[in-house]
Symmetry: C2
Subunit: 122 residues, 2 copies
C-alpha cells in the first residue's frame, strides 16, 4: 500500500505523509475509512512506530485525518483539501511556466503537453 524510497532526501515521515495525502486526495481512501494502526504499519514497513506517528501527526495537523483515542485514526472529509490542493498546484504550474518562458520555451509547447494529457485519458 505504501512504499518507501531510501534514496530520497525527504524524511521518512514526510514521504509517508505524502503518500497518504495522494491516496486521500485522489479518493483511493474515502472519508471515515480507518487508517492502518501505527504499530501495524510500522511492522509492515519495517520502521519505527514513532516515525509512523510523526507522519500521522503531520497528516492530522494538515487536516487529512483525525484521531480517536483507543480506536484509531480516520480519514477526514477531504473536499476542502482538494480545493486547496488544486490552487497550490495551479500556482506551482504558473511558476514553472514563467521559468520556462524565460528559458525560451514556446507557448505551443506547453499547450501540446496539456493537449496530450487531456486527450489521452478520455
Amino acid at each position: 500500500m505504501i512504499s518507501i524510497d531510501y534514496q530520497s532526501k525527504l524524511p521518512l515521515y514526510e514521504q509517508i505523509a505524502q503518500k497518504f495525502q495522494t491516496l486521500i486526495l485522489k479518493g483511493a481512501l474515502s472519508p471515515e475509512v480507518q487508517m492502518p494502526s501505527v504499530r501495524t504499519l510500522a511492522v509492515e514497513l519495517s520502521i519505527n512506530p514513532n516515525t509512523i506517528q510523526k507522519a500521522y501527526s503531520l497528516l492530522e495537523q494538515q487536516g487529512y485525518i483525525y484521531p480517536v483515542k483507543g480506536r484509531g485514526n480516520f480519514v477526514s472529509d477531504s473536499s476542502v483539501l482538494v480545493q486547496k490542493e488544486k490552487e497550490s498546484l495551479l500556482e506551482d504550474v504558473r511558476q514553472l511556466i514563467e521559468e520556462g518562458k524565460e528559458l525560451g520555451v514556446r507557448q505551443t509547447e506547453f499547450i501540446q503537453v496539456i493537449d496530450r494529457i487531456y486527450r489521452k485519458g478520455d
Copy 2:
C-alpha cells in the same frame, strides 16, 4: 548578487548552486565570465569557504562552470544546459498537470494560466 534563505530546508551549498544555475541559464552570467572566488564569496555571504567550494563542485559536476587552477572558476557555455533544463522543466510541468487532471482541474484552467503569462510579458 546571491542571497541565502536560512528558513529553507535546502542545504546552503545547494541554495548557492541553484542561484548560480538560474543566473547562468537566464544569461545573467555569460560564458567565460569569472565566478567570484571561493574566499571572496565566503566573506560576502559570511559563511565558510568550504561551503562555497562544495557549491562550486556541484556546479562543475553539472557542467555549469569549469575550474582553472590558480586562476579561478569560469562560466561554461550553457546552450546545451538550457536545452536540458527546458526538457526537465517540461517534464515537471507534465507531471503536475497529470496530477491536476486527477484532482479535477479542467483543461481550460491550465490554458488560462499559460495565456496570461504569455500575453503579459510581451
